[in-house]
Every structure is written in C-alpha cells, then in structure tokens.
Amino acid sequence: MVKVSRKGWLLIGGGFCLFLLLAPFLLRGYWIRLLTNMFMFGILAESVNIIAGYCGYLALGNMLFFGLGAYIVAVLMTKFAFSFALALIIAGLGASLFSAIVGLPILRLKGQYFIMATMALMELLRAITNNIPITGGGQGITLPIFPGGAAAANFFFYYFMFGLMVFAILCTFYISKSRLGYAFRAIRFDEDAASVMGINPTPYKTIAWAISAFFTGLTGGTYAYWMSYIDPGEAYQIMPSIKMYLMMVLGGRGTVLGPITGAFFIEFISELVWGKFLELHFLILGLILVLVVIFTPKGFMDLLRRGLSFSKLMAGVKENRV
C-alpha cells in the first residue's frame, strides 16, 4: 500500500479544495449539480454526526428538520414574500427551536426508543404537512424561481452549499476541540458515568441536537429554493436519513471529515448507479448498506489503518459477531 505522509494529505486536500473552488468555471452544468448535491449530503451527514456520531443519540428521522426547513422557506417566500436570506435564517433557527422543544421529552428516551421516536416524528410532520392548507397539502409548493436564469442558479447554489458545508465542518471542528465535544463524547460512551463526572446530560444533548437540526434545516431550506418546488413526500423521506447514517458510518463516526468523505463517496457512486441501473437502485444501495456495516462498521479509515488484507477484514467482522 502507498503510505501518504501528513504533508501529502495536506497537499491532496488543498488541491481538492482549490479544484472545488474553481469547478464552476471548469465543468458543465450536470457536474456542477452533482457536486452541489454532494455538498448537500456532506452537510446532512455532518449534522447527523454531531448528534449521533459525537453524542450517541441516533436520530434516524433527522430528515424531519430538512423538511421543516424546506417548508419554512417555501411558505415564508411564497405566502409572506420574505427574501430567501431571511426565510433561510428563520428556517435554521426554527428547526433548532423545534428540536429543543421535542428534544426535552424524547432525548430522555434511551437507544432504540429514541430512534423510533424520531422516525415517528418525521412521519407525523409529513402527515400534518399533507393535510394543512398553508403548505399546499399533497400538491406541494412552487417557490419563486432564482432570478437570472439556470446558469446563474447553478453558480449560486454551488457556492452557497459549498459555503454551508465549510461552515458545518468548521463548526464540527470547533466542537471536537472544545468542552462541548468532550461532554458529547462522554455521553455517547457512558451517560451515567458522564453524569457522575459532573456532566449534566440534558442540556448537552439538547445543544447537540439543536446544532444538528440547525444545519439540517438550513440545508432543507436551501434545497427547496434550489429545486423551486417541494412536496411532503420529497421533504420528509426516510431514505436520505438512512443515507446520511451510511455516509457517516463509512467515513467514520465522531470524526470531523469522515462524514464528508463518506458523503462524497456514496453520492458519487449513487449518482453513477442511479443513471445506469434505475431498476436496481434500491438493491444496490441495500447491498452497500449491508456490506458497509458488516465489513467497515468503524469506517474506511479504520480499515486502511488496519491494512487491507482478507484476514484482517475477517478479523474485523469477528468483533461484532455472536
């Protein structure tokens, strides 16, 4: 195997960033949209990483904040003529606030119960959205089209998503180095022991989920404006939720850049697969899920660290086997 030094990684990373910054000047619209999509999943996976990867609470229905953010932006822009910027800020904060309100009762639930609660919460929001007039019900809402044409829109949303992603990465980096990060991780590994060591779990869990909801809400709001159309089935989906978790696990739980790399990798192949084998999309995604959790439950960086050999791969599998 080729060993890459620290300097080497920095060089590769720097080069890649430079490429991403210049990409809209070099590539066609299709690739720009694909990259924007990769950024979007990068943010989503990073958001999930904060509550699940760092804090250990598996909000499997985290897409609920995506839908909420999307609908806040859609309703505010169409029914109340808000500007995108203002509507988006309200979407982010609104998603955060909502997470804090529902978080207080359901963050007390442990493990499996919390997973189910977040899934039900997402279904609940979808069912409500489907049935109230202000959201347009099942018909969905058409948002104002981005002024200046398709090319300008591509350009704008590319850089906007990129900026959001960088913001999310910086935020996660800051958390990982701060008191917050230590508290989150302590809670993830052993909540009782954490509280005996002086950590009050409730506010920390609430903060973790609120940050996660904030980024997910912002992403949802941006997506709604980007697509200029949103409906309940699209906004509240379990599938992207699962994908975010897959990306996080593949890239490495509780690491700053892992979820981003996982997102790039999965979105990239998912796009290639989607294009070529439309009928097998579920099957292939399902197989990837199964293979990833069996062979790289700690992420591919862990796999690389242990060395890529068949026997080591099987040794890794043995760890979780009964």
Partner: protein, 255 residues
C-alpha cells in the same frame, strides 16, 4: 466534623428492598470501609450517594447540605468523586481524555482545556499512568484501568472519594501499590469511603467499617470490633475464615 451522614436510608426497586433503613456517619478525614456479601446493597448505597438512584426514604447530608433530589452531576460538583467497580472508562477516548473530562466538568470552577490538561497530567503522573496517557482504553491492563478510575475520581478534587472495589482482580503487588496511593490521598485530607471484597485490604486501611447484609446494617465499628463480631463472622466472613482465625489464635496461644 461529619462529612457524610445517612439517616434511615431506604431504596426499593419495585417490590425489592435493596437498602433498608441504614444510618451512618462518616467523619472528615477517615477511611470508612463498607463490606458485605454479594447483593448486600453496597453498590446501591454508593449509587444513592451519587444520586444515580433516587432515595426512596430517609435523608442524606454532605457537609450539612441535603443531597436528596440532587442530580449526579450536582452531587459530584459538591465534592464527591467516584471510582466505579466495573470500570466505566469512555472507550474510544485516550487515557488522558478520560481524565480530562473529569477535570473539565467535575469541579465547580469552569476551566478551559489548557488548564484541564495541566491538572490531568499531574494526576496521571500521581497514579503512575503518565507514560500511557495517549493509549486507548482497550490497550491498557486491568491494573491500569483501576488506576485510571482512581485518576478520574481524583481529578475532580473531591472532599469525599468513593472507591467501589477498585482492588478486585489485581495481584498482591498491585493491591499494595494501590493501597499506598489511597493512604497518600487520605493524608492530603481526602475522606475515603471504600467498598472492597479483598478483606485484607479493607481491614488494613479502614479506620471504621460498616457491614451490610441483605440491605441492612448489621455492624459498625473498628476493624478489630468487626473481626470479632459474631454476626458478621457468621454471615459474611464465612465458616472458613472463622476456622482459620481460630487456628491462628490457637497457634499464638501455644507459643
């Protein structure tokens, strides 16, 4: 001066009474031993002190302050540190980070990471884990894990230190090392409540000992008194110990 007092402490789990009307007082500066057979309610009592379980009945005071109804983190910050029986280190964190968590959150002062790190290093050197500070938890031995538990409790600068079977599973030398450390901590003015299965250790280090049996207090006194208490000998120390003790006495008399 009294550091910790319990009055009529009772804990029920559903229909089961794990701790029944236990009274005790711990003097500041002493080493107080807590013994009893398996299932006697020792760890439950520690969990009551920590606030992990709410108290069903009775009252508890720490330096005069009522502990009933306080959350674990609040109790910890009053100055009660705990080392767990089953090592509860945060796997996936390094040795240093494990201790750092206690330093950051376990005291009343709000500390930044740099200050916390300095205190952490000091404590790690004290318990002898300095060279292993960057190891991950699965990479260190049982003895080191017990030291880590002690370090995690000490870094919170406790006035009262709860040690739950920190010597279980260690060999004789390791036990002696740890006892040495506990004495050193005690000499710095820290009161210690120690639960232990290793009899020699408890008898050797405690000033006073309380014995629990099926959740009830059956004796409280100096190690010598406990060793001679008939009820304790019967229910806890077991026949074998009684026989051995009798033999030993017989020997010394013969001499």
């Amino acid at each position: 001066m009294l550091i910790l007092e319990g009055h009529g402490l009772t804990k029920n789990f559903g229909g089961l009474t794990a701790v029944h009307k236990v009274d005790f007082e711990i003097q500041e500066g002493e080493i107080f031993g807590l013994i009893g057979p398996n299932g006697a309610g020792k760890t439950t009592l520690l969990n009551l002190i920590n606030g992990i379980f709410p108290i069903t009945q009775g009252e508890m005071f720490f330096l005069g302050q009522r502990l009933n109804g306080l959350k674990p983190h609040q109790i910890t910050r009053l100055g009660i540190g705990r080392a767990f029986q089953i090592v509860r280190a945060f796997e996936g964190m390094t040795v240093k980070e494990n201790v750092l968590v206690g330093s950051l959150f376990g005291t009343k002062k709000r500390k930044d990471i740099g200050t916390g790190m300095k205190e952490t290093e000091k404590i790690l050197d004290f318990v002898g884990l300095g060279p292993k500070k960057d190891y991950m938890i699965p990479e260190i031995t049982i003895a080191d894990r017990k030291r880590l538990e002690l370090a995690r409790a000490l870094v919170m600068d406790p006035k009262l230190l709860l040690l739950d079977e920190v010597m279980a599973g260690l060999n004789t030398r390791e036990v002696e090392d740890l006892m040495e450390m506990i004495f050193k901590v005690n000499r710095q003015g820290v009161t210690i409540l120690v639960i232990e299965h290793v009899m020699k250790a408890v008898m050797g280090i405690s000033h006073r000992i309380m014995v629990l049996h099926y959740g009830r207090k059956i004796a409280l006194g100096s190690p010598k008194e406990i060793a001679e208490n008939e009820e304790v000998i019967k229910c806890y120390l077991g026949e074998r110990f009684v026989r051995k003790e009798a033999e030993r006495k017989g020997h010394s008399r013969a001499k």
